[in-house]
């Protein structure tokens, strides 16, 4: 009984829209946008063309790279935070989480300004008399990646930190005592015991970054398109709702697959029992 409001909420605002997208994905596009209530599959074959497949592949690579790097750096940050003492720990966590309190657009523009023509980065390069191409930074893949990384880092850091805080650090002492060096301790004790949190953090970053379109749009300019951009382009500019919906269905299916692969690792429970 207590779950009823939540179920109503989920049906109205999550399941409903999702079903709508699924239905739209199989309808025919109207001549001037809009929808015709006729079953149509032609756009389903169209979306698997070479340039779209390339975009999908690149989106996948981008999301994978973002998730890997945020989890790796988030892991190191979480580890060092959990070894700090109370006061400085609070500060460190605050500083890491702080950017996510700001509006995404503001944050992205801050990066844009930082690397832009009059920004401090170019100023520094000029000051150091290092020759560079002024247009290099204005719409560049690495800047997109930087934007993705900095936006998603807290999403990887927080679950890892939560897991690390519960981690029994005497296990590390035990490993050292039994002769393990730092690398052996990390790979044979720390990572296996935090497997669940690592997978969770990876999925938490990978899924939204697969559909990300604001960051590539603002930082990447028109140089490279990702799956998210493609969908927004189809829906908002080309007014081709069925194609956009088909792409969205594809994206959601991919996410679901990764969710079930990532969030449910096989084997015995990796949660430490105390």
């Amino acid at each position: 009984m207590l779950a009823v409001p939540a179920l109503i909420w989920l049906t109205a605002f999550l399941l409903g829209p999702m079903l709508l997208v699924l239905v739209v994905a199989f309808l025919k596009k109207g001549t001037y946008g809009g929808l015709l209530w006729e079953l149509d599959f032609t756009h389903w074959t169209q979306i698997f063309n070479d340039s779209y497949l390339k975009i999908m592949f690149l989106s996948f690579v981008q999301a994978f790279a973002t998730a890997s790097l945020t989890v790796a750096i988030g892991f190191l940050l979480a580890w060092s935070c959990s070894t700090l003492s109370g006061g400085s720990r609070k500060w460190a966590i605050g500083l890491i989480a702080l950017p996510s309190f700001l509006n995404l657009i503001v944050r992205i523009y801050a990066i844009k300004l930082f690397v832009g023509f009059e920004g401090p980065l170019q100023g520094l390069l000029r000051f150091l008399r290092i020759p560079f191409d002024e247009f290099y930074f204005s719409s560049n893949q690495s800047v997109v990646f930087w934007g993705m990384f900095s936006s998603y880092l807290p999403f990887a850091f927080l679950p890892l930190y939560a897991a690390m805080e519960k981690f029994d650090f005497s296990l590390i002492e035990a490993a050292r005592d039994l002769g393990a060096n730092t690398v052996q301790t990390v790979f044979q004790v720390l990572i296996p015991n935090l497997k669940r949190a690592l997978m969770g953090a990876f999925v938490l970053v990978f899924i939204p970054s697969l559909g990300e379109f604001i960051i590539p749009d603002l930082l990447g300019g028109a140089k490279q398109m990702y799956l998210g951009n493609l969908i927004s382009e189809q829906v908002l500019r080309a007014r081709n709702w069925p194609t956009g919906a088909a792409l969205a269905v594809l994206l959601i299916s991919a996410m679901l697959i990764f969710y079930f692969l990532g969030a449910r690792p096989n084997g015995p429970s990796s949660e430490p029992r105390r």
């Binding site: 029994d168 002492e173 005592d177 039994l178 296996p192 015991n193 990796s270």
Partner: protein, 375 residues
């Protein structure tokens, strides 16, 4: 074999170890005993290498080891929380150290298997090899932790309150097993505990620690029968305390103190412990089982004489409580301004609550400490 020279440890402005000086012999069961916060665990971690000293040195068989990493020391540790790896089976937990070392020492899988099986047999856990640590009881986890440390054949085994998480019955079993194991293997055990009874039962020698200092190092019996400081006397076993002032007397080797009982001046003789003192405020300690209790006036001259010419100490009081425990009984005796004395004694002549009684104890069982040493 293991020498701890002048070790001091500071955490910020807090000193956890002060000039600790210890020598631990080969094959000894050595206990570090003290209340929480006395520095015993810090000292153990310092030996393990998970903590570094601010000054001083640790020598093992004549070689300095305090600058070595934990993995380079021939020591292994059993942790208070067991610290078993939850993602590994019991077998893999025990094999962990051997597999880590296998690159250097070239243990083959079959050698590892043989050693692990032997360890499992030693701690009676053969059937549990494939189980995960989360499915074992506390006592079983403790055995695994022990096996995991001992399989590496350490020269010294460090144990950090390994029995404190077990229930009383299990603890007793483990105490017996631990002692038997140590005697069988002949490895030096360094055992940290806050439980004085446990230390007395298990150890060859005990070091009592207080606020980062070693108070006394000796055999358990000596610790009980001849405490060198008031702190040790209070920490090991229980005591009745009698405040008084030292007065001149010719009762060597004993000292005499003047005490006041219900307004009457009286003298008590005892042994001065930990240094000599001729005058000043002192405190005398008597253990409950060293006191004989008589109905007032019922004690014979023989009861009252310790040796030729030396009388036993006598204090009067009223019996306020009596707990029957069979062969021995717990008695509480109100001695006026000296407070209530605890006495464990074979009771004579059917004493009853409310009786006037006389407490009699020998000077040799009366330990005297300077008051300034107590606080």
């Amino acid at each position: 074999m293991l020498e701890i020279n002048n070790i001091t440890k500071q955490h910020g402005n807090q000193t956890t170890l002060r000039n600790v000086q210890l020598k631990i012999e080969e094959g000894e069961f050595f206990s570090l005993l003290g209340p929480s916060g006395c520095g015993k665990t810090t000292l153990l971690r310092l030996l393990a290498g998970t903590e570094t000293a601010s000054s001083g040195e640790v020598l093992f068989r004549g070689k300095r080891i305090d600058d070595l990493n934990p993995q380079e020391r021939p020591f292994n540790m059993v942790f208070q929380s067991y610290a078993l790896f939850p993602h590994l089976s019991i077998y893999d937990n025990i094999a962990f150290g051997l597999r880590i070392k296998s690159r250097k020492n070239k243990f083959s899988e079959s050698e590892i298997d043989k050693k692990v099986e032997a360890m499992l047999a030693m701690v009676h856990l053969e059937k549990y090899a494939e189980r995960m640590p989360g499915t074992l009881s506390g006592g079983q986890c403790q055995r695994v932790a022990l096996a995991r440390a001992l399989v590496n054949e350490p020269k010294v085994l460090l144990l950090d309150e390994p029995l404190s998480a077990l229930d009383a019955k299990m603890r007793e079993v483990m105490q017996r097993d631990l002692r038997a194991l140590q005697q069988k293997l002949g490895i030096t055990f360094i055992f940290v505990t806050h439980d004085q009874e446990e230390a007395l039962i298990l150890s060859d020698r005990i070091a009592v620690m207080n606020q980062g200092r070693i108070e006394q190092v000796c055999h358990p019996r000596e610790m009980y029968e001849s405490p060198q400081s008031a702190y040790v006397a209070r920490f090991i076993g229980s005591n009745n305390e009698i405040p008084g002032t030292l007065v001149e007397d010719t009762a060597a080797p004993f000292v005499t103190l003047q005490i006041e009982t219900s307004g009457v001046q009286q003298r008590v003789r005892g042994q001065m412990q930990g240094g000599s003192l001729n005058q000043g405020q002192v405190m005398a300690f008597v253990r409950p089982e060293k006191i004989d209790i008589f109905k007032n006036g019922a004690a014979t001259t023989e009861d009252l004489q310790w040796t030729q010419g030396v009388q036993k100490n006598r204090i009067l009081g009223i019996l306020t409580n009596l707990v029957f425990r069979g062969q021995f009984n717990d008695a509480h005796v109100d001695c006026g301004n000296l407070g209530v004395f605890k006495v464990i004694a074979r009771l004579q002549n059917n004493l009853e609550i409310g009786d006037d009684v006389e407490l009699v104890f020998a000077p040799v069982d009366t330990f005297v400490f300077a008051v300034n040493e107590i606080e």
